[in-house]
Amino acid sequence: MAATVSREVLTAFLLRLADDHLVIGHRLSEWCGHAPMLEEDLAMPNMALDLIGQARALYQYAGEVEGKGRDEDQIAYLRRERDYVNCLLAERENGDFAHTMLRQLYFAAFMQPLWQGMLSSSDAHLAGIAAKAEKEVAYHVRHAGEWVVRLGDGTPESTRRMRAAVDALAPYVDELFESDDVTAAIVKAGIAPDPATLRPSFEAIVGPIFAEAGLEWVEASYGQTGGRQGRHGEALGYLLADLQHMQRTYPGMVW
């Protein structure tokens, strides 16, 4: 039988995932009504909706596991900036459409094997969340991947922008695959795969897309890190000011 994990460890693991999804979903939703074409004015809120839905499932479960009676909104809205543990990739600002789509591809290509691994999680509740999310993330990989190809192999302008995005996001890839005590305990308990082992799957997704797009992979000399310890970039604070505005202004109300 697999080892078990403490409430604290499982909560910590769930919050990382949940924050990733909330924050990158928030970023996507900022495009709403401002997309380059109507189809994307549909596709981007659609992906954001999936991501917020996944975040909700994870926050709800984190609240249960934590056992302190916090509901999804209390966890999502009422922590301090240093308590958010999303990866830095998720919080990066939208930049142009190439930048947003590449960010989404990276995140989806990381999550797809992670969700797949969690399909057989020893934690039945998480396996259930994964079953739904795994279908959704496949669409995100496809949609973002198609755009990376189109833009990478489109006009000289779009190629230039896509390359700039590859360059700009390079330092934020490695953090996705970090392992630490939390992930080690989670792996040992058979709850989820080790992020460090997902790199080949990530590359198997991103590699062919880059090849088709005519893009070269850029290895960052040093990856940025810190998100899992709540050490974020300066942009997250503004995102949280908007996110939390209502809950902070009107504490304890039902909406």
Binding site: G33, L38, L49, I52, F97, E157, D242, V254, W255
Partner: protein, 315 residues
């Protein structure tokens, strides 16, 4: 002439007109204008609601709002497609919107100032839209009628959702109730204006009725809306900002005060609080997205060329 008479006979017989059917130029033009305007309204309508997605007060409401705004984009898409069956392209329609030549529903030229505005838009604006749209499900032009059936189903869901937001606020803390009342105060009159000028002042009304593009007059629809909406508002304890609003037993409907048509025309003519910003936002999205659209086109052509080259090589 004979064609017009025959066409009118088909209309009178409640036959649906389909894209390849002959139709009078005026009928086509009226439909293009109306469907385009309707599509633009969906698109511009994403902006005031989109304004609260990042600040929605709970995750549940955030998800619902995202879904709603996405639906609106979808409505825009069906409607542009319906208009395209009449021989106008989405690009042409977009350019007419951005140049200010084509209109969109003036209500979206008001700002969403608080979260309650999201409730008020769902309840009142979508509510008014449905009043307009339900008869359009029986519109004489087939593609438009079919698009409206789908749109109406979703809009009525949005309307209930908006009302539910208002109810939650109205039954919530005093600040929430105040927020709901304030939103009603600001959105009520513009909602009534959504039905357009009084029948006597309406320029497109008669011919559209005859062609069964419209099936009720502006004033009829406005009255229906008032009659349906006032009890809903009263039920949740809100007060309508109209001292003349009262039930008229005799006519079996509500009486209500005079609409400020100066305001209506001012906003229609581009001087509402948000007209410039709405168009500027759409213009910016369009301009900033030009390189994306060009790249998508260029890529599609490259693929096609490659496929053809491969086929040639294989032959």
């Amino acid at each position: 002439e004979a064609f017009l008479v025959a066409f009118q006979a088909r209309i009178d017989a409640e036959e649906k007109i389909e894209p390849n059917d002959p139709m009078p130029e005026g009928y086509r033009r009226t439909l293009i204008r109306q469907i385009g305007q309707h599509a633009h309204s969906e698109i511009v309508g994403m902006l005031p609601e989109g304004n609260w997605i990042t600040r929605a007060p709970s995750l549940r409401r955030k998800a619902a709002l995202l879904a709603k705004v996405q639906d609106e984009g979808g409505h825009g898409l069906y409607l542009y497609s319906a208009a395209e069956t009449l021989g106008v392209s989405r690009e042409e329609m977009t350019e007419e919107l951005l140049s200010g030549k084509a209109k969109y529903s003036s209500i979206f030229n008001y700002p969403t100032l608080t979260w309650a505005d999201i409730g008020a838009i769902g309840w009142l604006v979508d509510g008014a839209a449905i009043m307009n749209q339900i008869p359009l499900c029986r519109c004489s032009y087939g593609p438009y009628a079919r698009a409206m059936i789908r749109v109406c189903k979703e809009e009525s869901f949005h309307q209930r959702q908006g009302y539910e937001i208002m109810m939650t606020l109205a039954r919530g803390a005093p600040e929430q109730k105040e927020m709901a009342q304030d939103a009603l105060n600001r959105w009520w009159w513009p909602s009534l204006m959504m039905f357009g000028p009084h029948d006597a002042d309406s320029q497109h009304g008669d011919q559209s009725m005859k062609w069964k593009i419209k099936r009720f007059t502006n004033d009829e629809l406005r009255q229906k809306f008032v009659d349906a909406t006032v009890p809903q508002g009263e039920f949740i304890g809100l007060t309508f900002p109209d001292p003349e609003l009262k039930w008229n037993e005799e006519k079996g409907a509500y009486d209500f005060g005079a609409i400020d048509w100066d305001e209506f025309w001012r906003v229609v003519k581009g001087h509402g609080p948000m007209n410039r910003e709405r168009l500027a936002a759409r213009q910016k999205a369009w301009d900033d997205g030009a390189w994306v659209r060009e790249a998508a086109l260029a890529h599609a052509e490259k693929r096609k060329a490659r496929r053809e080259a491969a086929k040639m090589a294989a032959e």
